[in-house]
């Protein structure tokens, strides 16, 4: 009789334990999935709020600069934050394409925010490349495209 009630007690505890473990696992996965949904939503909303515009004058894309002692006309791109969120202004997070070809990280000499510390809305960044007007080639149509983590813009110009 005693052993019968003991075995029932063991079964009760076992069933409770199984329910608790199952519940814990389900809760853990629910938490992960809901965190992922929140994270994805945050990323998407940031993407929607982000917008950039290349404001360079397509007739004057080159500026006289001194890079490593070599004074020449280098390709400079001005990009304005026309969205409603602050963007990352690190060179490694921005890709520049010239005539469809991505410029290597080494080809981007500098990227600085003009007048501000951060690339906040309405602020302009100046991207200096080591491409000269000789390298780009004269009497031809060109296109430059700037891609940030969440936005992009393209501008056509002629040298």
């Amino acid at each position: 009789m005693a052993s019968d009630s003991l075995s029932r007690m063991v079964l009760l505890i076992a069933s409770l334990l199984i329910a608790a473990v199952l519940g814990g696992v389900v809760l853990q996965y629910s938490q992960r999935v809901s965190n992922s949904i929140k994270g994805r939503g945050h990323d998407l909303s940031e993407q929607i709020m982000s917008d950039i515009t290349i404001v360079s004058d397509p007739q004057n894309m080159f500026e006289n600069e001194n890079i490593n002692g070599l004074v020449e006309n280098y390709l400079v791109i001005y990009v304005k934050n026309t969205g409603s969120t602050t963007l990352d202004n690190e060179k490694r997070l921005v890709n520049v394409f010239l005539d469809g070809e991505m410029l290597r990280f080494d080809n981007l000499e500098s990227m600085e925010v003009i007048d501000y510390t951060y690339w906040r809305p309405a602020a302009v960044v100046r991207i200096l490349t080591d491409y000269t007007d000789n390298v780009v080639g004269e009497n031809r149509d060109h296109s430059v495209k700037v891609v940030t983590l969440k936005s992009e813009d393209k501008l056509k110009f002629r040298v």
């Binding site: 009760l12 409770l16 629910s30 809901s34 965190n35 945050h42 404001v55 004058d57 003009i114």
Partner: protein, 155 residues
């Protein structure tokens, strides 16, 4: 009720509670995401609408050879209120830093606020950062809407 029945009941209760908590977590996450996306979409729609309604015209550009300054008159010909501090100038393709902008007037009065209303004229006196005659000027608003002029009068 025997122990087996009680165990099943409590186990079922635990699972129902877990299901309810999970459902509330999902509902909260989806609701919050939906709110964020709705706010972002509304903001984007507002920006697009304001961009469409924005227009400026460079009415006059004078290069003062004595002071080496550029005096630019720009009119807000759109129907949206613009921000003066978010206007950018390019002289021969080179962006003029705000440090080089000396005076700003709205409708002939020194600008003490940041608001530039439709039909108002903005006069900006900027340093000639190039130190040689300016041939082409571009003015850009906060939404990226811009105007160019090559009619720069030297005085």
């Amino acid at each position: 009720m025997d122990e087996n029945g009680l165990g099943a009941l409590v186990g079922m209760g635990v699972l129902i509670l877990v299901s309810l908590i999970s459902a509330s977590l999902f509902i909260y996450a989806i609701g919050r995401t939906n709110n964020q996306l709705t706010t972002a979409r509304d903001g984007k729609a507002d920006r697009i609408s304001e961009r469409i309604q924005t227009d400026i015209i460079i009415e006059n550009a004078v290069w003062d050879s004595a002071t080496k300054n550029l005096i630019l008159t720009v009119k807000n010909t759109g129907s949206t209120v613009l921000s003066i501090s978010k206007v950018d100038l390019l002289e021969n393709g080179v962006l003029v830093s705000r440090e080089n902008i000396n005076d700003i007037y709205v409708e002939g009065v020194a600008a003490i606020t940041d608001v530039w209303l439709p039909e108002e004229e903005l006069v900006i006196r900027a340093d000639n950062i190039l130190l040689f005659p300016i041939e082409r000027v571009k003015a850009v608003t906060q939404y990226g809407v811009s105007d160019y002029t090559e009619n720069v009068v030297a005085v």
